[in-house]
Amino acid sequence: MNDLSQIEKELRKLRPARPSPVLFERVEEAMIDCRAVGRRGDPARQPRKPSGPRYNWLSLGFGLAAAAVLLLFAAVKMERRQESGKEIAQTSREPEAAPLLNRAQKSTSPDKFVPAGASRLVYNTRDEGLQFASSSGQPLRRMRYQTHETWQWRNPTTGASLRVSYPSEEVVLIPVSGE
């Protein structure tokens, strides 16, 4: 340890070489240049304005663009939903289910399940083109409906309910009027 402090003392006696006088002149010139630039309006030397909020225009631009894209997506999605609602989501208590319900309602007894509802959701309609049946000379349009039917029963005494759902498919031939 003593050896090291001895070395330290020796090192401290050693003086670094002095800079040339030219260096001071050069630094002075550079300082004067800096001051001149500062007075002319170098932004690095200008005091910062204590003005209101500073906007980062790049971030603001990205934010607005992202918001616009989101709005566009939302609009397109809503439009599609409306269109599909027109075509597919036709939930109906159609006339075929009504007689069955009426019949079931008529034959109720207090300890049995009573039909409480029936629905038929047409979720896809496909036009399979024109057909010419042998019996009829009139062309027929073949339509295929894919549906989802749901039946519900309810026991009025116990309050229990039963629901059955199943997919179904129906082909309908519609006569085409020859105009």
């Binding site: 050896d3 090192l11 050693l14 003086r15 670094p16 800079p19 040339s20 260096l23 002075e28 690095a44």
Partner: protein, 163 residues
């Protein structure tokens, strides 16, 4: 806490730190003229950015950074100069002012230290930076700075006092 811009007395500050800064810059650049270029650029940049003179670690970090940029920029020139310096070693500019042969031997021994030990030694002895400041300037821990310093002293002792 004064800063260079407020008191405008950069000359006294610079004359105080310039020899140490030049020695520090000479760790990377061969010639005294290049070291002066590096020191001038670092000091003027430091002054322009309104840094406090007490923040010496930043000043030394600036010198180091500019010196390393200088080497990258002029790598070919530096290689040529290094070759020239090796060939005409007796004419190379000394980094220290010698008073006797012991000091000359000591200065030569410093040249043989590994770079990372030498830079810590230069900052500690001739620039009087604390280990915390050295650590800040070099981006190392204080313990690393202190151990590099001790290794440097031990290496010099072994060189100068062969057993």
């Amino acid at each position: 806490m004064q800063n260079l811009v407020s008191h405008e007395d950069w000359k006294s500050c610079f004359s105080e730190v310039a020899p140490g800064l030049l020695l520090f810059a000479r760790q990377w650049v061969q010639s005294a003229a290049d070291a002066e270029d590096v020191v001038q650029e670092a000091f003027v940049k430091f002054w322009r950015r309104n840094h406090k003179i007490e923040n010496r670690a930043l000043l030394y970090a600036a010198v180091r950074s500019i010196a390393l940029d200088f080497i990258r920029r002029d790598s070919r020139r530096a290689r040529r100069e290094a070759t020239a310096v090796r060939e005409t070693d007796e004419f190379s500019e000394p980094q220290f002012e010698f008073e006797d042969d012991t000091q000359r031997a000591l200065a030569e021994a410093i040249d043989f230290l590994p770079c990372e030990q030498r830079e810590v030694l230069v900052m500690k002895i001739w620039n009087e930076l604390t280990f915390a400041e050295i650590a800040g300037a070099l981006g190392i821990s204080q313990n690393t700075a202190a151990s590099r310093y001790r290794y440097a002293l031990a290496a010099l002792r072994n060189t100068l006092q062969p057993q």
